[in-house]
Each structure stands twice: as structure tokens, then as C-alpha cells.
């Protein structure tokens, strides 16, 4: 007998080791998943935070009356058509006393964003007194300069791999030495729509697009899904038809999202002739995708309402329908809300089906109605990522941050509702 126990004891050394190893593997699994999450967040935030600020260059602008208003008539229309790019270039040149040839001045003028000429012309139209005078102004730097300022390590690259020439880099360092460089909040990013120039592109247009799209999704999917959930959970007889319904809903939940896009393209666009790229179509497609999520949430929160509530209502002479609508459904609302918000946050992050219905266009205007062409937040991220210009890298990451912030807010709200209002029976 003791012989047996000795053998067990003998085997224990190796077994203990493999026990520890196995436990370690398990922990390693969790740890790796956790590290992935941290890496993703770090890579997004470290790049994205750069896009929240943008570079400005101080230029002593000379509002040359020869260029702006040679006839001296102070006519708004004429001022608007004046060559303000030239004004910027000439004013920049004054920073560098050395003789600049034509090519040099071209390189110099590319320091400033091409949106600033419009800005100056509007400024002069409003302040005509400045014509013929000097004014120190902070002008938005072009994206290439901005990228170099934000990523100093790029200065060490070879000239052809860098975005700016050696000469431009020299000027930039001189500007920096003169303290004529500053970083400021990137207002364009938060207020504009897409643009071909990274420094002028913003997230606002796609944010509005996402909002309009989700509004349609909510309006369409919420009532339908709650109705379907109530019917299936509370009122449906057990028969082949309802069984078929349930199978359909479960399958719908697992259909790849891009297939919904194909459905939207074939039916909403080609058969129904609804407008391409419009939030209304995007909303309809996402509504179909969100439907199963809300139905399942509705059913499970109805299921958690104890049968005694129904029995009490029915015992008082209410019909089944009345007992559900008057008593059971109100108790299930927090759960339904939570499920709906989670479904909406999933719809917010969804982009594949939107690509199919054309919400993936270059759109410079902020959409205002459900029928306007627009993009959505995740699609904008995809678009920026696919753009070659270097300045869009940070913008893409910043877009991801905005998307994640919204998702965190929505999920936080869902958790809040769950903890605050959901009853445990």
C-alpha cells in the first residue's frame, strides 16, 4: 500500500512542474491578449494625438497694394481675385535675405497651406485699412512642414525620403530659431469635412454623416426589433413558423456585414433607385444588421421579468397583450435600452456595408440632410488610410481616437443604464 503512495509522491515533481507550466500558459494567453490591446491603443494614441495640434508659422505679411488693389478702388470683388499667394510668398522671402531664385521661392511658398490665401483675402476684404501695411500673422503651415515639425526624427532621413528638401529644412530650422513657429489646436480637424490637403481635412463631416446614418438606423430598427422581440418572446405560439423566424434571426446575426452592403446595393440602389452615398441608405442597411442584436436583447430582458408579473396582470383580467404592454415591457426597458445602445455602437464602427453603397466618396461638404452624399466616421478613417500623402497618417489615427471615444461613451452609457436601472429578480 505505502508502495503506491511512494509512487504517487515520486510522480508529483514532474506533475507539479507541468501544472505550473500549464497555469502559466493560461495566464500568458490573457497577458498576450492584454498586451495586444495596449499595443493597439498605444499605436493609435501616439500617432493620433499629433493630429489634434497643427503647426503655424509667423509671417510678417506685407499687404502690397500693387498686388491687391493696383487701381486703388477698394472693390471687394477685385480684392478677392487678387493673387494672395504671391503676397504670402513675397512676405516669406523677406525672412531670408539671401538671393532666392524662382525655384527657391516656389519651395518657400509651399511652407504655407494653400488655404491661407483665401483666409488673407477675406481678412483684407473686412479690413481694408491694412492695404499697403505690414501685419504679423500666424499662418497655417502646409502638411509636409507640419509632419516634419511633429516627427523630428524624420529630419535625419535622406533628402528623397524626407518630405522636404535640404534647403527647406534649413529654412525651417531658421524659422524655429526665430521662434516663429507654434503649435495650436487643429480647428480644421474638428470643424471641416474631407480635403485633399491633410492640414485642411477634418472629421466633422463624417461625424455628421455617421450621426445622420445612425439616426435612420435607430428609427428603423428600434421599433421593429422591439415589436419582433415582444412577439417572439411573449405572444408567439410555438409552431413551425415561429421556429423558422428564430432560425432566420439567428442566421441574420451571423451574416458577414459586407453581404448586407451587397443587399443595399442591389435592392436599395439598383431597384429602388435611392440616392447613392446617402445616410438614408446607409441607415437602412445598418438597421437590418442591428435588428438581430436588439431583438435578442429585447427577448433576453423580457425573459428576465419573472412570470409572476404576467400572472398577476392576467389574474386581474388583463389580456395577454395588455399584460405584456402594460406591465412586462416597462420592466424590460432598461435591458432593451442597453442592448440598443450596444447595437448602435456596433453600427457606428461598421464600415464594410457602407463601402458597398457608395458612402466612400471624397466629400468636402458637411452633409445636412439624409439625402446628401456623405461618409461615415469609420469610412473616413479607411479613406484617409488609403490616401498616399504622409500627413494623413496622423489624421487617420486621430480619426480612430475620435471613433474610440464615441464607442467608449456609448458603451459607458450602456453600462451605466444596466447598473442603475436594471433590476435583478
Amino acid at each position: 500500500m505505502t508502495n503506491n503512495l511512494d509512487r504517487v509522491e515520486l510522480s508529483l515533481v514532474g506533475r507539479k512542474r507541468s501544472e505550473r507550466l500549464f497555469k502559466f500558459y493560461g495566464f500568458l494567453g490573457i497577458l498576450i491578449a492584454f498586451l495586444f490591446l495596449i499595443t493597439i491603443l498605444y499605436s493609435v494614441i501616439s500617432q493620433g494625438q499629433k493630429a489634434f495640434f497643427t503647426t503655424f508659422i509667423k509671417v510678417n505679411i506685407f499687404f502690397d497694394s500693387e498686388i491687391i488693389d493696383p487701381q486703388n478702388q477698394r472693390n471687394d470683388e477685385d480684392i478677392r481675385y487678387a493673387n494672395f499667394n504671391k503676397i504670402i510668398t513675397e512676405s516669406l522671402k523677406k525672412k531670408f535675405p539671401e538671393n532666392l531664385n524662382k525655384n527657391d521661392s516656389k519651395e518657400l511658398s509651399s511652407f504655407i497651406s494653400n488655404s491661407e490665401a483665401d483666409y488673407l483675402s477675406e481678412f483684407v476684404v473686412k479690413n481694408k485699412d491694412y492695404i499697403g501695411k505690414y501685419k504679423n500673422m500666424w499662418l497655417l503651415a502646409s502638411s509636409n512642414i507640419d509632419v516634419i515639425v511633429k516627427n523630428p526624427e524624420m529630419e535625419d532621413l535622406d533628402e528623397e525620403d524626407r518630405l522636404i528638401s535640404d534647403k527647406q529644412l534649413g529654412w525651417l530650422n531658421q524659422i524655429r530659431l526665430n521662434k516663429e513657429l507654434k503649435k495650436e489646436l487643429n480647428k480644421n480637424f474638428f470643424t471641416k469635412a474631407d480635403s485633399t490637403e491633410p492640414e485642411q481635412a477634418g472629421i466633422w463631416g463624417s461625424l455628421v454623416g455617421s450621426f445622420l446614418t445612425l439616426l435612420i438606423t435607430l428609427i428603423l430598427s428600434f421599433p421593429v426589433a422591439v415589436a419582433a422581440g415582444v412577439f417572439l418572446e411573449e405572444l408567439a405560439p410555438k409552431n413551425k413558423f415561429t421556429e423558422f423566424l428564430e432560425v432566420n434571426i439567428n442566421n441574420l446575426a451571423a451574416v458577414p456585414s459586407i453581404i448586407f452592403g451587397l443587399l443595399g446595393l442591389a435592392i436599395f440602389l439598383n431597384i429602388m433607385h435611392l440616392p447613392r452615398s446617402a445616410p438614408i441608405v446607409g441607415g437602412m442597411v445598418l438597421a437590418l444588421m442591428t435588428l438581430p442584436t436588439i431583438i435578442i436583447a429585447t427577448r433576453s430582458s423580457l425573459k428576465s421579468v419573472p412570470p409572476s408579473i404576467r400572472e398577476a396582470a392576467i389574474g386581474l383580467g388583463a389580456t395577454r397583450f395588455q399584460s405584456v404592454v402594460d406591465h412586462v415591457l416597462p420592466l424590460a426597458i432598461p435591458g432593451i435600452m442597453t442592448g440598443t445602445i450596444i447595437g448602435m455602437s456596433r453600427a457606428l464602427g461598421e464600415s464594410a456595408p457602407l463601402l458597398m453603397i457608395g458612402m466612400v466618396a471624397f466629400i468636402v461638404d458637411v452633409p445636412t440632410t439624409f439625402l446628401d452624399s456623405s461618409t461615415a466616421l469609420p469610412v473616413q478613417i479607411y479613406l484617409w488610410k488609403s490616401t498616399a500623402a504622409r500627413g494623413f497618417v496622423e489624421l487617420t489615427a486621430a480619426g480612430v481616437i475620435v471613433l474610440l471615444v464615441f464607442l467608449i461613451l456609448m458603451n459607458g452609457l450602456a453600462v451605466f443604464i444596466r447598473q442603475k436601472f436594471e433590476k435583478k429578480w
Binding site: 507541468s18 501544472e19 507550466l21 500549464f22 497555469k23 500558459y25 493560461g26 494567453g29 490573457i30 491578449a33 492584454f34 490591446l37 499595443t39 493597439i40 499605436s43 493609435v44 500617432q47 421593429v224 415589436a227 419582433a228 412577439f231 417572439l232 423558422f244 423566424l245 432566420n248 439567428n250 442566421n251 441574420l252 451571423a254 451574416v255 458577414p256 459586407i258 453581404i259 448586407f260 451587397l262 443587399l263 442591389a266 439598383n270 429602388m272 433607385h273 440616392p275 447613392r276 437590418l288 435588428l291 438581430p292 389580456t319 397583450f321 457606428l348 464602427g349 464600415s351 464594410a352 463601402l355 458597398m356 466612400v360 469609420p378 478613417i381 488610410k385 480612430v400 471613433l403 474610440l404
Partner: protein, 461 residues
């Protein structure tokens, strides 16, 4: 009549109808001094009238929304001179799109005056047709209101009628899931059949050469493009395999740790963290794969003297694997926890260590459930779009080397369809053929997986 004025008139009409119906029923009841009153409460009579008004208005509104584009396009095409259509070269539909897209408040200089004229015309008929439609719908609504108020009598059981209508509405809402499924299948099949008119079915399914871009080159017959989908399928499988290679061990070990080893406090911290991984939108994973993982792998592998494509299967698949981890871990966690405690007790009572119990008793018992989870994860992986669109290649390479660039079904669907408005070429239709393949593949995997999981649950419930 604009939409909002229409909307408010309808709301007003609805409230009036409800109020009037309820009042009429109240009056009828108060006239009865003795004997039976109305069979339902007065408010039900109002509700019934209201319900019918809303249903009829909504019905006609939907009919109008869906038929309006067709009607307007038809009127517009009659108005555009034939000469312009011929001159334009493209299909009439594309011309109509141009006319509709013309912003009449801010006309681009140099626009064809006929287009401007038609844009103004379109704008006019757009408003006019809306007004006409809204007026008709209002008239219908009014008729329905009057009719249902007239129906109020002692013979009419309003509560039953209201409930029956409501339940029918609920059933209607429930069937949307079926309608959506049918819509998906029909639209895919319809377009895919058009594709197979141009391209042989077996050439598509078993062909080794995929180069759809050549098919739309001018002067070339559409079927000259190569539509052999084998390289696409193999690419999809390769990326899925890489994803599973990452996700299965990490997901499974995480699940084992959470279910068997972790204290409740540890569990309640790490489980939500895994769920966060599941909540990150796929476009973010795509960005991560393309911007961070791709270059990193390139440098890393380069150190060892190997070359790796910048859009390698391993980058896209690896990141997809990260996305799948929570999927596998949470499903496996459920499955492992569903293994009855008495099996664990039995094993511990024999003097087994925890890992022996997990390896020899729990995992074998949970295997069907875990298989189901893996199948669901595979179905998720082959249907995943954004990660591969952003991080995998476009060229169809037939290779098993994960360091090379491959393409997937979803990438091809996106590349074939994005930006293309023409709907008759084999190129665009090929997307639907791929779509239906994807749909049935995932459907099959899901059904099998759900069967397995269900059987497993029944076994231990």
C-alpha cells in the same frame, strides 16, 4: 405641401380622430341608462380609429417613397432631348444622375444649359409630385378616419380589433428578418446568375486565374477577363488559417485560465478587457495592421534576411487573429463552465492536479462546444472585410506562403464594386458571385456550429 407641413397635419388629424372616436363612444355609452353598454372601453374606439389612420398613411407613404424615384426618372428621361442622350455616350441613367446632382442654387460655370434646364425641371417636378402625393395620402387618411369613426357601434368590439391589429403589426415586424434573408438570397442569386451568363460556373469555381480588371478594358469582350476564383479562395483560407493560428491558442488558454484558475476578482477584471478587444471596430484593426504591424514585420523579418510583402497574409491574418481572440475565449469560457462540476470533483477526488483535470477531463468533454466556437470564429474570419481591405493585397496570388501578399473574397468584392457605377459588366457582377459564395459558406459554417453547440448544451443541461 412640404414634408413637415404634411407631417404636422397628419399628427393633428391623428389626435383629432382619436379624441373624436373616444368622445363618440363616451356619448353613446352615456345615452344608455340601463342594459349593456359598448362592448369595449371608449378609449379603444379612439385607438382603433387612430391605428387605422396611421397604418394607412404609413403604407401609402412607403409606397410613395419607393415608387417616386422610378416615376420621376421616367418623367425626366422623357424631358431630356434624345440628342443629348446620344451625345452623352453613357447610359441614360448616368445622365439622370448628373442632372439630379446639379446644384441649382450654385451652378458650376460651363455646365451644359440643357442639363441646367433639366435640373430646374427636375426640381420642379420633385416638389410638385411630393405635394400631389401628400395630398392624396391626406385624403386617404381622412377617408379612413371618417370610416372608422362611423364604425363605432354596439356591435363593434373595439378592444379585440385593436389587439388583433397590434399583434398583426408585431408579426409583420417579426417577418422583416425573413424578408431580409430572402432579400439577401434573391439579390445575390439574381446578380450572380447574370454573372454566370457571361462566365462559366465551373470556370469561376475551379479556375486558377483571376484578373477581372482586364475585363472592362475598352473594345474587349467581357468574358475575356479571367474569373477563376481558386486563388481568392486559397488566399481567404490562408489568412483565416493564420488568424486561427493566433486566435485559437491564445483564446483557448485565456478561456481555460479564466474559467478554471482565475479568482472571481481576477476574472471580473480580465473578462471585460477581452470584451473590449471584441468591441474595437474592425477599421481600427485594419489601421493597426497596415500602419503598425505591416512595417514592423517587414523590419523584423528583414533582420533575418528574409523578404516579406508589405501587405503580407501574416500581417492581415495575425491582426484578424487578435480580433477573433475574444470570440473564441468567451465562447470557450461558456462551454468550459458548462462542463458539470461533478466531473471536476470526480477527477480531483482521484488526486488529479488542475491541469490534468483540464487536459484529460474538461477539454475532452468540452471539445464539441469548442469545435463549434472555432467554426463560428472561422465563419467570422472569412467574412471579415475591413482588416483585409486595409492590410491584405489586391492581386490574386496562388500561394501558401504567409509572407506573400494574397487577396480574399471580401477584398475582391470591395475592389470590384467601390467607385464603379456600371452594373452590367462581368467585373461588377463577379462581386455578387463571390458574395453568394461567401454567404453560403458562412451560413453552412454557422448552421453546423450552432448544431454542435446546441447538441453539446442539451447533453449537459
Amino acid at each position: 405641401m412640404g414634408f413637415w407641413s404634411f407631417f404636422f397635419i397628419i399628427v393633428f388629424l391623428g389626435l383629432t380622430t382619436q379624441w373624436y372616436g373616444t368622445n363618440k363612444a363616451l356619448k353613446l355609452n352615456s345615452n344608455i341608462k340601463e342594459g349593456p353598454k359598448l362592448p369595449s372601453l371608449p378609449s379603444y374606439y379612439g385607438a382603433n380609429a387612430f391605428l387605422w389612420l396611421v397604418i394607412s398613411v404609413l403604407f401609402f407613404l412607403i409606397v410613395w417613397v419607393f415608387s417616386k424615384p422610378h416615376i420621376l426618372d421616367y418623367i425626366l428621361i422623357q424631358n431630356i432631348p434624345k440628342a443629348l442622350i446620344d451625345e452623352f455616350g453613357g447610359t441614360p441613367n448616368m445622365l439622370i444622375d448628373i442632372v439630379k446632382a446639379t446644384d441649382i442654387s450654385n451652378i458650376f460655370p460651363g455646365t451644359n444649359p440643357i442639363i441646367i434646364e433639366n435640373a430646374l425641371y427636375y426640381n420642379k417636378i420633385d416638389k410638385l409630385s411630393d405635394s400631389i402625393a401628400y395630398s392624396i395620402i391626406l385624403f386617404v387618411g381622412l377617408t379612413v378616419s371618417i370610416f372608422s369613426i362611423n364604425r363605432i357601434s354596439f356591435l363593434f368590439k373595439a378592444r379585440q380589433a385593436v389587439e388583433k391589429t397590434n399583434i398583426n403589426l408585431l408579426i409583420l415586424c417579426s417577418t422583416i428578418a425573413i424578408i431580409a434573408t430572402i432579400g439577401i438570397i434573391l439579390s445575390l442569386i439574381f446578380e450572380a446568375l447574370r454573372f454566370f451568363e457571361k462566365v462559366n460556373f465551373f470556370d469561376f469555381l475551379f479556375g486558377f486565374n483571376w484578373s477581372p480588371q482586364t475585363a472592362i478594358r475598352e473594345g474587349q469582350v467581357a468574358s475575356d477577363g479571367a474569373f477563376g476564383a481558386i486563388p481568392i479562395f486559397s488566399g481567404t483560407l490562408l489568412i483565416t488559417f493564420v488568424a486561427m493560428f493566433v486566435a485559437i491558442p491564445i483564446g483557448l488558454f485565456s478561456a481555460i485560465y479564466l474559467a478554471e484558475y482565475a479568482k472571481p476578482s481576477v476574472r471580473s477584471t480580465f473578462k471585460p478587457i477581452l470584451e473590449i478587444l471584441a468591441g474595437v471596430p474592425t477599421v481600427v484593426y485594419g489601421f493597426f495592421a497596415a500602419i503598425t504591424v505591416g512595417p514592423f514585420l517587414k523590419n523584423f523579418v528583414g533582420e533575418f534576411g528574409f523578404t516579406i510583402a508589405s501587405e503580407s497574409a501574416i500581417a492581415a491574418g495575425g491582426v484578424m487573429g487578435i480580433m477573433i481572440i475574444p470570440f473564441i475565449s468567451s465562447l470557450s469560457d461558456d462551454v468550459i463552465r458548462a462542463v458539470p462540476q461533478n466531473l471536476r470533483d470526480g477527477s480531483y477526488a482521484m488526486g488529479a492536479t488542475k491541469s490534468e483535470t483540464v487536459k484529460k477531463i474538461i477539454l475532452p468533454a468540452a471539445l464539441p462546444g469548442i469545435m463549434g466556437a472555432v467554426l463560428l470564429a472561422i465563419s467570422r474570419a472569412i467574412g471579415e472585410t475591413m482588416i483585409v481591405v486595409m492590410a491584405a493585397g489586391i492581386a490574386a496570388n496562388l500561394t501558401l506562403n504567409p509572407f506573400e501578399s494574397v487577396t480574399t473574397v471580401t477584398v475582391q468584392i470591395v475592389t470590384l464594386l467601390v467607385g464603379d457605377q456600371e452594373f452590367d459588366s462581368a467585373k461588377t457582377l463577379a462581386a455578387f458571385a463571390l458574395g453568394i459564395t461567401l454567404f453560403f459558406a458562412t451560413l453552412f459554417l454557422n448552421i453546423v456550429a450552432l448544431r454542435i453547440v446546441q447538441k453539446y448544451r442539451e447533453k449537459y443541461d
